[in-house]
């Protein structure tokens, strides 16, 4: 028998699951996330191996979802000093790199940059030819500034990556083979500033990610697990751990994505609203065809503008640990929370703080802790607090929906005991089995993907031929990422005509997804 191990490291909990080859959950465990991430992972893996009683060598794939990189960026911790080469001259001087960055971020990453000749027009014609000597000089200058990681961007590099590749070659000559280099075309889509920002963020967290993922590899090795290792990325698909070490920034929104995908898998429903209730916050998202709907606007990470496609979520300050307080004769629930101290401070767990969990227990919605400790709570207070929680959830459901049609609602996460059986706007409320480890399950069932984003001139070949071409390119990318060829399917094709010009320039965004090739 072959098994898969899924791990999700969140801000509060580290979850692990083992799935068999029929995708049945055979073991699950929740542990507290530790400051050094590895300790939490070790504990969780210990337990699931123990419960499942399988031979570790039978685990052929291990998937890790983690928000480690995101937290580092938000907290400005452990970031490297970054240097940037932008290929765009004579264009680009009008808006130099980093103009829109928060000062405290600049202070940490100490970015220095040089704009050099290069870049492409939308149709792939060079804006100007790169000059090797100019690039070498620029790299030498960055080296003198003491950079620890290099990022490279170029105008329309998603259309043609050659110039960025050239800089990589030259940088290896100057910095050596093991120096971390990030090319923007491998990370982001159209929008130079946003893609460049993402490349710089990636460069800033590469060393830290390498350590974290290396730690994960060590933990598995110690447990005798010799599996192919994958990290889940923002869109809910996987990348190999070797690739993830180079492009850790692609993991920053993987947490919510994993729980949405896990919910789809556990419930068997592909079009639904998912409510993930944690200790402090609740994320409400929407699934279409088993994948999260993505947000269309620019996403800021730690105050830096990027154009990653993130799940379109509504976040609420509501969770199992939310404080329940009375103010001006009104009962309020959250946003303050006891967070990870829930197991100590909630009344049902012997503490003194009235939390949303206590309310759920008093209302008879959950049976955890010592329910006798909440029997004396005022009935009206319980009713009002439950109503408040329900209102918050129903409002979020209404906001996230794209039509008035009622949709099934899937409630997951440890705090989903707060969710009532009936909600306005929901055709039904489903709390699937293993709901508390939906994230880890989402990580373990992920597929692999490939995508293409570029502007194409459809005059010469015709629209249909170009669409065939971009579909193929996306499929090839997926196969390169480890997908089984026969299972690869195009799941997304967006065609965006460029406004204000009567030419036939069209931007295509294509994504192909396939099952992981079994080894």
């Amino acid at each position: 028998m072959r098994y898969r191990l899924g791990i999700d490291v969140g801000g509060t909990n580290t979850d692990a699951v083992i799935l068999d080859s029929n995708n049945r959950v055979i073991a699950k465990q929740k542990e507290t996330t530790t400051t050094d991430v590895s300790a939490g992972i070790t504990k969780a893996v210990d337990r699931v191996l123990q419960y499942s009683d399988i031979n570790p060598s039978e685990i052929t794939n291990a998937m890790l979802g983690t928000t480690h990189a995101t937290n580092a960026i938000i907290e400005r911790k452990g970031l490297s000093k970054v240097g940037l080469i932008r290929l765009s001259a004579p264009s680009g001087y009008g808006i130099p790199p980093f103009v829109d960055w928060p000062n405290d971020m600049m202070a940490v990453t100490k970015n220095s940059f040089v704009i050099v000749k290069g870049g492409y027009e939308f149709n792939g014609i060079p804006i100007s030819k790169p000059d090797k000597e100019e690039i070498k000089k620029a790299l030498a200058e960055l080296k003198k500034n003491g950079i620890e990681s290099l990022a490279v961007s170029g105008a329309f590099s998603p259309v043609n990556a050659d110039q960025e590749e050239l800089v990589r070659e030259l940088a290896i000559e100057i910095f050596g083979k093991n120096f971390p280099i990030t090319l923007s075309n491998e990370i982001g889509s159209i929008g130079l500033i946003e893609r460049e920002n993402a490349a710089v963020l990636n460069a800033a967290i590469r060393k830290l990610a390498e350590r974290a993922y290396g730690g994960f590899q060590d933990v598995l090795k110690k447990h005798g697990i010799n599996a192919d290792l994958f990290i889940t990325q923002n869109d809910g698909t996987l990348m190999s751990i070797e690739y993830a070490k180079k492009y850790p920034v692609l993991t920053i929104a993987s947490g919510p994505t994993n729980s949405l995908r896990g919910a789809a898998f556990l419930s068997g429903i592909k079009d639904a609203i998912v409510i993930d209730v944690g200790g402090t916050t609740t994320d409400v998202g929407i699934l279409t065809k088993g994948f999260p709907r993505e947000s269309s606007s620019a996403v800021e990470i730690g105050g830096v503008r990027t154009n990653f496609r993130m799940p379109d979520l509504i976040s609420l300050g509501l969770g199992g640990g939310s404080l329940v307080i009375e103010k001006d004769r009104q009962i309020l629930v959250g946003p303050q929370s006891v967070g990870y101290k829930l197991a100590k401070e909630a009344i049902v767990f012997g503490g003194e703080t009235l939390t949303a969990t206590d309310i759920a227990v008093a209302a008879g919605m959950a049976d955890i802790g010592d329910s006798s400790r909440v029997t004396s709570l005022n009935k009206d207070k319980i009713k009002n607090a439950m109503e408040r929680i329900r209102n918050l959830i129903e409002e979020a459901i209404d906001k996230v929906k794209i039509s008035a049609k009622e949709l099934p609602v899937i409630a997951v996460g440890g705090g989903s005991i707060l969710i009532s059986e009936k909600l306005r706007g929901a055709s039904e409320v489903i709390k699937p089995e293993h709901f508390e480890v939906a994230n880890a399950i989402g990580a373990s069932i992920s597929q692999v993907s490939g995508s293409i984003d570029g502007v194409y001139d459809i005059t010469a070949k015709g629209r249909d031929a170009v669409i065939e071409q971009v579909k193929n390119e996306a499929k090839q990318e997926a196969i390169k990422a480890g997908a089984e060829e026969s299972s690869v399917d195009v799941v997304e094709l967006e065609e965006i005509p460029l406004a204000y010009l009567p030419s036939n320039a069209v931007r295509f965004k294509v994504k192909a997804v396939g099952n992981l090739k079994s080894t």
Binding site: S88, P90, S91, G92, Y93, G94, I95, V99, D100, G119, E121, F122, I125, I127, S128, A155, F156, I190, G191, L192, I193, S296, S297, A298, K399, K401, I402, S403, A404, V455, I496, P497, L498, A499, Y500, L501, P502, S503, N504, A505, V506, R507
Partner: protein
């Protein structure tokens, strides 16, 4: 007279997007440029139209082409200055101030950038009072003034001086030059004396945009309804509240043409609403009956926050409030309607002012 500071730029961009009637694209690039220029060169003096010299020279500065390309191929930064100075040189005369040509998108910010860079004042007016897609669609053109001499520049340093037989040719030649330059360019066009600015420009649009943007931002911080505050200063009408249930786009003429369908909520439950757009919103109809027609302004706002949504960003599922605002009276003359009215955009109906349409719908 007043001065524009760095913090005013965000307000102006929001306000201009309201006046842009769905057009003009994302002003992000323009905003960054204008802010940087003010940081580097200092505040920009904003002149009201009655402060300008009748005999002075006033030159507009604008971006032409696809905003979607400019997010990749960023400007060099010298183009606006080059276009502006080349035109001065061609005319053998120095300009008194920079004149905005369009309220909306990136072109709400480029003139501020140019004014800051050249240390010139900016005139609180523009040639549209909204956004439109073609060079002749400005009040100056309707008044019979020539678009040329004009200069088209690219980031490489190429520049073209155009003298055309009419403004339609300016559009054709400049558009094709822009395509050859890689789909974006910077232009200076419609050089005017002070008398013509006073006669034909749409006045006070920069300060109006600033005020609109500021009100929305401040309303969002307090409990005030941002949409009410927009209507109050723009003399606009609330046309419809609903959820977008369909957005169709197609590329027939090279301009993005489409239709958005909105299903009523709250007071509009049971009604449906449609907007025809071609880059800008052109015709709004409620239950099949027109309620606002170009050149009057039709703008789609986020229902809660009041921020404007451009036609490129319209999406299924958005909850929106549609507002309509009367255009500058200049646009309502017969000549103007022929150039920017519904029939010009190939819709088979006659223009009627929004005030009349709203009254008809109430009765």
């Amino acid at each position: 007279m007043r001065y524009l500071e760095e913090k005013d730029i965000d307000y102006i961009a929001i306000g201009a997007a309201i006046l842009g009637a769905g057009g003009g694209g994302d002003p992000y690039i323009g905003k960054l440029m204008a802010k940087q220029a003010i940081k580097k060169h200092g505040k920009v003096k904003l002149l009201s139209v009655n402060e300008i010299d009748d005999n002075g020279l006033f030159i507009p500065s604008a971006m032409m082409g696809a905003p979607a390309v400019m997010v990749e191929k960023l400007p060099n930064g010298n183009e606006p200055e080059m276009a502006f100075r080349s035109l001065e040189k061609y005319l053998g005369k120095k300009a008194h101030a920079v004149l905005p040509i369009e309220a909306g998108g990136i072109n709400s910010c480029i003139p501020i950038y140019t004014a800051a860079t050249l240390s010139l004042p900016l005139v609180d007016a523009d040639g549209m009072g909204r956004a439109f897609p073609e060079l002749p669609m400005v009040t100056f053109s309707v008044a019979g003034l020539s678009a040329t001499p004009m200069v088209v520049c690219d980031e490489k340093g190429n520049k073209l001086v155009l003298e055309t037989i009419n403004n339609a040719w300016s559009e054709i030649l400049a558009r094709n030059a822009t395509i050859a330059m890689g789909l974006s360019s910077m232009i200076s066009i419609y050089c005017l004396n002070g008398i013509n600015v006073k006669k034909y420009a749409v006045k006070g649009t920069i300060s109006l945009a600033l005020e609109l943007g500021k009100r929305i931002t401040e309303s969002n911080k307090s409990d005030n309804d941002p949409i009410e505050s927009i209507l109050e200063i723009s003399k606009g009408f609330k046309l419809f509240k609903g959820k977008i249930i369909d957005v169709k786009r197609d590329l027939t003429t090279g301009f993005v043409r489409g239709k958005v369908t909105i299903q009523g909520i709250e007071n509009d439950t049971g009604s449906s609403f449609e907007i025809d757009f071609q880059n800008e919103n052109l015709i709004a109809s409620k239950n099949g009956k027109p309620v606002a027609i170009t050149p009057d302004l039709i703008t789609v706002l986020d229902k809660e926050k009041g921020f404007p949504i451009t036609t490129e960003a319209l999406k299924y599922g958005q909850r929106v409030t549609v507002i309509g605002m009367p255009c500058d009276p200049f646009w309502r003359t017969e000549d103007a309607i022929n150039q920017v009215g519904p029939r010009y955009f190939k819709y088979d109906l006659d223009y009627k002012p929004i005030e009349e349409l709203v009254k008809e719908n109430l009765s």
